[in-house]
Symmetry: C2
């Protein structure tokens, strides 16, 4: 039996032109493709001989186990993940399964992680360079960590004047959380601080909104939006079409953190 | 005269298999390629008709101005940047030049940022999934911000139990700074906390080292190393070859931040 291979493949934001050739090659040579339905469809179409295993988005560990079970039979398996599989995505779930298995066959699988461009990077590129200086990436997702941890991290990042990229900003279980996050951030930032809302960037129907921490409303974001909140240094530049570029300069000037609001 | 175009192109970590097809296409159709010598060589070879403008790594603003001057003449210009141009790279410099120019010709240039996979993502993928949960990205570069800002950010991120990705960890001007950063981080992390050192990942001679915050020494890093310091949750998993995978689980368990050392 050949040694099996399990590759966790980053599709990037969705546009095939932003997927790394290494990811495309891995998908093309996979015998089995495992993933959430939406992402599998972004990754395809596949050849008739390739077997596609689609599943619900919530079942990351089940999906990772299914992938190991296939690879342990000697198959070449690709687990698809949107964006970068290493950022709030499938790579950690696959490692978690490997960490907790007793099956020597699963441990013998050749494992590879293929990185991709994450949603915040695609939104940032469309907006200019809001992540051009120190930044923090925080998921507000409700089901995997206590809200107190999230709030503590937002507080720390805001107080130290980091730019913030927020994933999964709203959730059904905690409709109040994004408002709470906004209240917290407003205590540390001037009202004019630029905010970028990127929704489905790199996919059909993408939208980009530049607003400010003072003007923005929680209703403007949903689960498919990535939110980038500027630091005290983040600036806008007018574009010819009347919209704005947003960037955070490489150098840190003038305003000491803590005196920015 | 045709409208000029200035595209800031992310090469990714270096391996052509990790560069987005959109970036490759932009390089192929550029009339002028502007960049730091090392990155221009990673991006090439170029066709005989393409004009290559190489410069020193320190002159980002000069390079951005040269690119605008060319594009304002109606030329298609690609400014090359390693990794993601939006992360401690050329996109912010280009926006800064646009922000401060009085030249209407420069403002009329069509501007595009093409994202790429950044060095920390390439190192993380090789290591497993150390950035699988909330993380902060900090440059320790010495010439663009006060050390107090860096120290304050490290302190905040460490205290809130973020994973940390550190770019430009050492510098000639501040040989003491990485030791200071290590001392600070050790006050917030158990000695066994995993640390990943990725050097030239995605380039010839790449190396990946998995160590711990207790065991690591400043001498193990240089300017081409990206350093990823785990949170209280970050774990290792043995690999078949005796080395370790490193990952940060998607869920947050047990140890409250602040009680992790």
């Amino acid at each position: 039996m050949p040694q099996g291979r399990l590759a966790v493949v980053g599709l990037g934001p969705g546009d095939a032109a932003l997927m790394a050739p290494a990811a495309r090659a891995e998908l093309d040579r996979a015998q089995d493709i495992v993933g959430y339905t939406t992402y599998v469809r972004l990754a395809g179409p596949f050849a008739p001989g390739q077997i596609v295993h689609e599943s619900d988005n919530r079942h990351e560990l089940q999906r990772a186990r299914a992938a190991f079970a296939l690879a342990a039979q000697g198959r070449r398996v690709a687990v698809v993940s949107s964006g970068d599989p290493g950022v709030f995505a499938m790579a950690a779930a696959v490692l978690e399964v490997l960490d907790t298995t007793d099956d020597p066959g699963w441990r013998a699988v050749e494992l590879a992680i293929l990185p991709g461009i994450s949603a915040a990077q695609a939104a940032a590129a469309l907006a200019g360079a809001p992540l051009g200086h120190d930044f923090c990436v925080v998921s507000l997702s409700d089901n995997l960590k206590p809200w107190e941890v999230i709030e503590r991290r937002l507080e720390a990042a805001a107080a130290a004047d980091f730019v913030l990229a927020l994933y999964n900003p709203v959730s059904l279980a905690r409709p109040w959380q994004f408002d709470r996050a906004l209240d917290l951030l407003r205590r540390h930032r001037a009202a004019a601080t630029p905010v970028v809302l990127g929704r489905d960037v790199g996919r059909p129907g993408e939208s980009l909104t530049v607003t400010s921490i003072g003007a923005m409303r929680a209703a403007a974001v949903d689960m498919r939006t990535v939110v980038i909140v500027g630091s005290s240094q983040t600036r806008t530049v007018a574009r010819a079409d009347g919209s704005s570029w947003v960037y955070t300069p490489r150098s840190y000037r003038d305003v000491p953190p803590g005196e920015t609001g």
